[in-house]
């Protein structure tokens, strides 16, 4: 099984960094001396640690990039060769190459809570389908759960464009697995570990991926897994997990009622209660949800969108200020 890419600090020639270091040095020499002096020394060959977010399929120095099938699929040959990146003007000193850049300082199109619980045969994840734009409920068919492979699903809250980028990274990992064709696929635990490193390293560059992710699945040995990673790199695993408002509204319900040996029906009922309270009490939410489950025998299943009943016919709701006119 290939080593994770971040463990490679030496090339086959044994020099730290090796070819990649030399290329980067070459790039740096073209910058001014002032700027070069501010560049932090980084020998981690990971695009995550040393450059702006880059598509792994950058191929501008194809001759130097040896075997495309190596595990360095996520390492670009030339960190400066970011496709589509417009190099910022350095004359105005707004951006100093080598200093931490402030990137996503505020999210635009966002998703709200993702919930996940373990049940007897596997794991169940749920979220709504809204992409909010500030307070505006702008896009109402956003799919916030991504199927990585037959054992794992990833749900995201936060900035949708960053989630689309993460989905791309995960798809490339899965493609890599497929090409190896060795009977091994990434387990949920490994995908969680990978995403922890991605998010933590981006946070260290002051360029976070503005997401709270939930990784859930059942590995080939039948073991259920639910893990959470935040935009600061904070991560943990548990039997039940929620992001955003779900932390405050849904997790108390999970603490009370979730058991690792619940049946699927019980789990769905509990999840519906949790989703309902989110719809009542989270202002940027809509009554349009999906459920996704991963179970030991049957792999991944993602439901069609559905709505929940809500109760508005309590007598006290009709005229709340009846006994205290003028109040609310």
């Amino acid at each position: 099984f290939p080593l994770p890419h971040w463990s490679r600090t030496r090339t086959t020639s044994g020099e730290p960094g090796g070819e990649r270091e030399r290329e980067r040095e070459g790039e740096r020499r073209r910058w001014t001396r002032r700027q070069a002096a501010m560049i932090p020394q980084s020998s981690l060959p990971s695009h995550i640690a040393s450059g702006p977010h880059v598509s792994p399929f950058t191929n501008s120095n194809a001759g130097l990039q040896a075997d495309h099938r190596s595990e360095d699929i996520h390492v670009p040959a030339n960190a400066a060769s970011v496709p589509f990146a417009v190099a910022p003007s350095t004359e105005h000193a707004e951006v100093n190459l080598g200093e931490p850049r402030k990137h996503t300082t505020s999210p635009y199109v966002t998703g709200n809570s993702v919930l996940a619980i373990k049940y007897k045969e596997g794991v169940l994840m749920a979220c709504d389908m809204l992409g909010a734009y500030g307070s505006t409920k702008r896009y109402k068919s956003v799919q916030r759960v991504f199927k990585v492979n037959e054992t794992t699903i990833v749900g995201a809250s936060g900035e949708i464009s960053d989630f689309q980028y993460i989905s791309n990274l995960l798809e490339e990992l899965t493609t890599q697995d497929f090409c190896y064709d060795d009977g091994c696929t990434l387990s949920p635990k490994e995908i969680h570990a990978y995403l922890c490193r991605v998010l933590y390293n981006r946070r260290n560059k002051m360029d976070p991926l503005w997401n709270s992710l939930v990784v859930a699945g059942v590995d080939t040995a039948g073991e259920s897994f639910i893990g959470s990673v935040g935009m600061l790199g904070t991560s943990y695993t548990d039997s039940h997990v929620a992001t955003s408002f779900g932390n405050y509204l849904s997790r108390p319900l999970f603490r009370e009622f979730q058991r690792d040996d619940m049946s699927l029906e019980e789990a769905i009922a509990l999840m519906q209660e949790a989703l309902r309270v989110l719809f009542y009490r989270d202002k940027t939410s809509i009554n349009k949800f999906i459920l996704a489950k991963v179970s030991g025998g049957e792999g991944v299943a993602i439901s069609k969108p559905f709505a929940l009943d809500t109760k508005w016919d309590l007598k006290a709701f009709v005229n709340p200020s009846k006994h205290a006119v003028g109040s609310w």
Partner: protein, 230 residues
Amino acid sequence: AMATSAMVGQGEVLTGTTIMACTFDGGVVLGADSRTSSGNYVANKVADKITKVCDKVYLCRSGSAAHTQAVAGYANLYLNQHAIELGEKGVSVKSAATIVKEIAYTNKEWMNAGMIVAGWDKAQGGQVFAVPMGGTLMEVPFAVGGSGSIYINAFVDKNWRAGMTRDECKAFVRKAVSLAISRDGSSGGVIRTVTVDAAGQNKEMVPGDQVARYQDEHLPTLGSNAPIFT
């Protein structure tokens, strides 16, 4: 909608605007107003915010005029190269939208651009893709954007339906943009529409004096025969 005024300084040229694109049975109709403002000054009252990026695919631009013009330029460059490689097959709308998204997402820190990519290709027919600020890519049956879009969200939600004819769709787009112009100071001028379908692409304009006017705006124009003072 929340983007423009809070985040950019006075003086930067903006297409504070109303843009929309809408699928119908057989193609898409794109629509936009024509006002480019620089602070309170109308820098261009007859701007063209619907830009062609490749054959049968157009881009509606809102946000900073400079940023979106640059994006359109780059997209045009890459798509022309792509079209040469594809030959007869033609560039898909999804490819065009993905290129626009890549530029918007990669440069998200310094871009102020909300865009809509819409067009027609042989494989999938008429499609509309929204690329709002931040660089998310969403395929949608219709999309509205720009500062004026907030005033017509409810209108388009209520009145869009699947399977409209070309003329119904064009009338729908024109009505929506005129309603937005009626309330949004950053939108105005003429209403431009581009209709793209299997047969071709058709660019039209409703002149400013013929744009529909609504509540409290109906006035006879000076120069009509009726005397002003009675």
